[in-house]
């Protein structure tokens, strides 16, 4: 197994490579042995173009699986494909994203191929000629180092955002090998017939990607509705501080803070909230926080990544107008 190649299982959306795929390629390049080849597995409909662009991230060879069958991710079809491919080509190491797709595939493949798997890796350290995976456990409070036995296929899932993306220059020529594979109807028993987009208004606050939080500073329910209008335009979830909930502007399940929900969105826009400790404790884990407040001394700015000193009654309508224009 040691002699085999290093594979990365790529993901893409709207024909664009997703960031985790670029991370996988870059990390794969850093980890591969000199004699091995960095192979990308690219599956989908009309993805040939991106297959050629992979050289930018150090990929040397791409197994391209294309066709109508692969328009949507179906884990049974992917399992059929990958397990066949692994038997045929016998790689020694495979990297997945720690994403819904990677999390669905890696454990199954590990079992099926009798491989060894480490999930949620945030770093790799070289130890002799082997790689030690660093994974975060206990709610990201502790890092654990894990080594795998070398005589097995090694599988890792990588936490998105934890690895650096490197582009290589000069651009190397890349070998694209189309794999004509049709999943066996015996193996694939499920079929995806469509997707229902989650309604940001009804999805749980803890899972929301973008959250607009408002507080007592809005003054009344009519003003608060502006936030909802903006939320509809941005596909964001509207939430609030305890006073907003106590005033009846929002149901309790939309409350952020000590006595409400602890949130971790990618983007949080806070307006009309001064930033009392009880509120701030609920937004600590947010990725990026923008605060709007009239008072430059408001404590909310201490917790924000970006702040706008101004009246949200003036700023939000401008934002809404701009978004409406962009949409047109």
């Amino acid at each position: 197994m040691e002699k085999g190649d290093l594979w990365v299982i790529l993901e893409h959306g709207n024909k664009e490579l997703s960031d985790i795929s670029k991370e996988l390629c870059s990390q794969g390049r850093r980890m591969k042995k000199s004699h091995a080849t960095l192979v990308a597995i690219l599956v989908g409909r009309e993805v040939q173009e991106s297959a050629h662009r992979l050289g930018r991230y150090g990929v040397e060879k791409t197994y391209l699986v294309e066709g109508e069958d692969w328009a949507r991710f179906n884990e049974e079809a992917y399992m059929d494909l990958l397990s066949n491919l692994i038997v045929e080509k016998s790689p020694s190491l495979i990297l997945f994203g720690s994403t819904p797709m990677g999390n669905a595939l890696a454990p199954r493949l590990a079992v099926r191929t009798r491989g060894a798997l480490v999930t949620d890796c945030v770093d790799f350290k070289k130890q002799g000629d082997r790689w030690v995976a660093v994974k975060s456990i206990q709610g990201n409070k502790i890092n654990a180092k894990v080594t795998l036995s070398a005589d097995r296929l090694q599988l890792f899932t990588l936490k998105p955002g934890a690895f650096e993306i490197e582009e290589v220059a000069p651009l190397q020529p890349i070998e694209v090998i189309p794999i004509p594979f049709r999943p066996s109807p015996v193996r694939v028993r499920t079929k995806i017939i469509g997707f229902i987009k989650a309604d940001p208004k009804s999805s749980p606050l803890e899972e929301a990607e973008v959250i607009l939080a408002g507080g007592k500073g809005f003054g009344n329910l009519k003003e608060f509705k502006v936030l909802e209008e903006l939320g509809d335009l941005m596909g964001a979830t509207v939430a609030g501080s305890r006073p907003a909930v106590d005033l009846g502007w929002l149901p309790y399940e939309r409350q952020i803070g000590l006595t409400g929900k602890k949130i971790s969105p990618r983007l949080l826009l806070v307006s009309g909230i001064s930033g009392a400790f009880e509120f701030v404790i609920g937004i600590k884990d947010s990725n990026f926080i923008i605060a709007i407040n009239k008072d430059p001394a408001a404590p909310i700015f201490k917790s924000a990544d970006a702040g706008i000193i101004g009246d949200h009654h003036e700023i939000l309508p401008v934002l809404i107008e701009t978004l409406k224009k962009v949409e047109k």
Binding site: Y252, Q255, L258, T259, K262, A276, F277
Partner: protein, 656 residues
Amino acid sequence: MESREIFWNISQIGWLYALTFIAFLLLFYGCYDHVKFWGTGRKTGGGPPLRLRWKSFLSLALFQRGILKRAYPGIMHLFIFWGIIVLFIGTVLLAIEHDFLKPIFSYSFIRGNFYKVYSFFLDLFGLLAVIGTVMMLMRKYLFPEYRGVRGRPDTLAVWSLFFVLVTGFLVESARIRGTGAEEPFSPIGYVLSALLPRLFDAESLQLFHEVLWWIHLVLALILIAMIPYTKLFHIIAGSFLTLSDPKVKKGILSPVFSEPLRLEPDRLTRLSRLQLLSLAACTQCGRCEEVCPVVSDQSLLSPRRVMDGLRRELQRSNNHLGFLQNGAFLAGFWECLACRLCEEECPISLKVAEKIVDVRRHQVMALSQFPAELRSVFRNVETFGDPFGEGKYAREDWIQGEAVKRRLRNRNGCLVWIGCQSAFHERNKKVAWAFTKLLDVLSIDYFLLGKEEVCCGDLARRTGNEYLFRDSVLKNIDTFRRYGVQKIVTLCPHCFHVMKEEYPHWGGHYEVLHYTELMAEVIQQGKVPFSKSLDKKTVYHDSCYLGRYHDLYREPRSVLNHVLMDGLMEMEKNRGSSVCCGAGGGNFWTRGNTGERINATRLEEVCDKGAQIICTSCPYCLVMFEEAIRNQERQGLVAMDLAELLDLVKPSGTEK
């Protein structure tokens, strides 16, 4: 020689004995049921010394000190209580003489001067009992908001009592009239006998006497037989309770585990015998409900209903908490602030909050059912040692200067226990800072534990997570042992209470002071005179744990009066009747009660006084008032901790 013809014109005395026998049979049968139920409770060993028990019995049962806290119902109950006691003793004496001494030894003692005194006292106390009963009836029918007498059995009992007393006097008067005796020492009967219609001839008088006599007897026996089946049982249960559970130290919960760690399932699923007794002793008078800050139209909690509901549900399930099914009833248990105002108000000091915690314990440890907000709080305390989940390395972030940093773990002087609130909460960090500065100015030797501190456990204990509490206690006791701690000064009254009163069970015996005690001591010694220079209108809010739990009312006031130019203003509800800020009993961490916000209501009281500073000495209260001030947008009012206030004044002579 004066005496009384006991039966005068009553024949068929055999019926008297037969009916009495039946009544007492019913009484004993009912009591037997109670004892059987009481026997399902778990035993609690030990208990306070006998001297304290008798003291509590005398004060609460015989002298009715608890119920007399309120004038009208107090006097009403006192009259009925002593009236019935004296009449009962009188009847027993009569029975002893008539059925025992006379037939066997031909001896009688109720005659002559003794008879005069005897008869006079019986009449007097009978009259008091009538007045008390009339007061009770007036309350029931004229003041519908009074809800002590409710339901048919209660009404029947009061009316029976009334008629027993009235017929008693009428029977007496008829006898006096019929026998023609001159008995001015039975004043009521004597006066009534004169008032009896002149129309009565001897025969109708005898009939009148005979009918009333039997009515009097039957009603009295009905009352006796009713005792174990109605709330009249409080006469028996209440007496035993004051004897067995005097309020010596207040608000201390009993442990669930036996050591070394072992859980006896009984401790989780069953109430103790004392608690069952107190359920039986509750008369549903509703004083607790009146004062409870949580009770409102929308709230699910009422201490009165907790007692009533628990008694009924547990009787049905033979004292097994697992059979509590009513969701709304159970949700009410999570609204309790553990402020102990109900216990303080209860005429016989029934421990309501203790039972609420017992139910919470069962919910948390047996069923894992508790408010969702507590999930992360429990986990945070478990993993990081603080409810905020900031971790032990953030515990020293509040310290700003090198001077204080040097105090960390240097084992000099007493330990100043900062506590999670003051170590992590942005607002309370300022209090910790002010207090340590103050100590430096006063050159008091102290040291800090910093990252070695672990949550004191009060929050876990009051929310029923005894396992977590025990864990915190053992960790802290171990730390104290390693640092040789003997004296602890805490910033938070909650830490203060558990360390002082609840740690000793696990072998942690320390001299524990709340910092207000320390400050009062310093001022009293006069070593460091603070200047009386603060000219702000200030009210002091008594926190539950300092006040009702430990009666520390004087200390903070003496400190404040020392620095306030115009002296301290008092709120309407102060000291023992102070109202919780709304954060107690774990409610800081949950969404709390469903009704009006409690801190908002309390703040309105402050504003009515026109105060500029609301001073408190509890980090929870401080945050709650800050929040209320922010929400109500009160201008010119600030919430401050006592330590901050002192820091503002600065001891005179130390300013540089």
